[in-house]
Symmetry: C2
């Protein structure tokens, strides 16, 4: 009887460990595991995205698509990436956002955009920094570097600093919301220092509880058509002016 239990327990061990190894192996094996562990323990503010196919693929598209001095460039993460902005706004709006991007990631791919000297730039980035646990000081420092690059190397570009948007009530904890609000408190002052326009979108997307209004999202983070239409309304005057 005892031996039977022993065997069941061992067999379960073997099965579960096998499942675990298959799961890890399918995602890239030890490299995946060590990366995951590292992400949890020490979020790297300079993490590179060279092992994220979507990121690399999208960046390689950008390299082939020119930005004209009359263009309006949108910079950011999935919230911007997933919008069909050229249709919502105008054909001169170029989507240069990449899902998953962080302030550090944007900094590393910023040079060709600054060099193209676009007419206007709309910026919204930082939610992935917060999800990864990057410190606020680091986020603000990266923002400062981004804005400095435009101010110095493309002084005629008008940069619009957009607030971070709210996330939902359930999936994301209160701590994440308070961090978003902390970043949003710094951004207007920062924009003003560079003489750039700040656009506060946050209160336009909240429900009475202060989270992302469910009418705008099915996953408490990403946005639906109604949200993009609202966002469009809120920035249109700055796009056309």
């Amino acid at each position: 009887m005892q031996i039977a239990l022993w065997l069941v327990s061992l067999l379960t061990n073997v099965l579960l460990l096998t499942a675990f190894f298959i799961f890890v192996a399918k995602r890239g094996g030890l490299a995946y595991l060590s990366k995951k562990l590292q992400q949890v323990s020490h979020p790297d503010p300079n993490e590179d995205f060279s092992h994220v196919p979507f990121y690399v693929h999208r960046l390689s598209q950008f390299e082939l698509l020119a930005i004209k001095p009359s263009d309006i460039v949108l910079l950011g993460d999935s919230l911007t990436n997933e919008g069909e902005w050229a249709e919502f706004l105008s054909a001169s709006v170029k989507n240069r956002a990449i899902s998953g991007d962080t302030t550090a990631g944007l900094l590393q791919r910023l040079e060709p955009i600054v060099q193209a000297k676009p007419h206007k730039v709309f910026l919204m980035i930082g939610i992935n920094d917060i999800i990864r646990g990057v410190r606020i000081e680091q986020i603000v420092q990266n923002y400062t570097t981004i804005l400095t690059r435009f101010r110095t190397d493309s002084p005629s570009t008008r940069v619009y600093v957009q607030s971070l948007l709210p996330v939902g009530d359930r999936r994301y904890c209160q701590k994440m919301r308070s961090t978003i609000l902390e970043v949003n408190q710094v951004l207007p002052t920062l924009a003003q220092q560079f003489d750039y326009q700040y656009i506060d979108l946050y209160p336009q997307f909240t429900n009475p509880q202060g989270g992302l209004d469910p009418q705008y999202s099915q996953d408490e983070l990403h946005l639906n058509g109604k949200a993009y239409d609202r966002w469009r309304q809120l920035i249109q005057e700055f796009v056309v002016s």
Copy 2:
């Protein structure tokens, strides 16, 4: 000694099972599990995407963005979705592809596109059907229904049926490649039946081993900028003609 081993074995089981439950719970619990099991055992040819936030969000954008009779509409999955086509081709090109979409999914969202009576439609869909294990007969039947809808309700729309693209050598088995080739063998005849143009892209993206050329992808499935530029070259004459 035996009891110590017993305890280690039991503890390992408890830890692994806990990890498994946390993993499942984070993804939606039992509903997620039953959906996954169902997908593996019986791929549903009529699966709906109402629980996939990205799909729902993107579809709700399309509902707000009008298609004009002079527009060129791209229909498909991630391969089309991830391309900045309006920039690669022209502002009249409207991206109506959704990452993850299948022939059945496209069928369910086809009506407003047919009703908009666009000038041209470029179609590439089916790789997700194959990944999910949908039978070839079902894929071909869905293609037939899609083409019939255009022929019947928007006879002036010129539909371009594009071949499926190759996938890589390693991750996807030989079986998947042979299924892709089987679908690609049916498509030209099908397009001809409806008097639509067939565009064979497949051999333009293969390496000598017959898989997706690594110069075009970092994950053996999705495409980089170089691939989109090649694809653009191959369809441009049909877009502008």
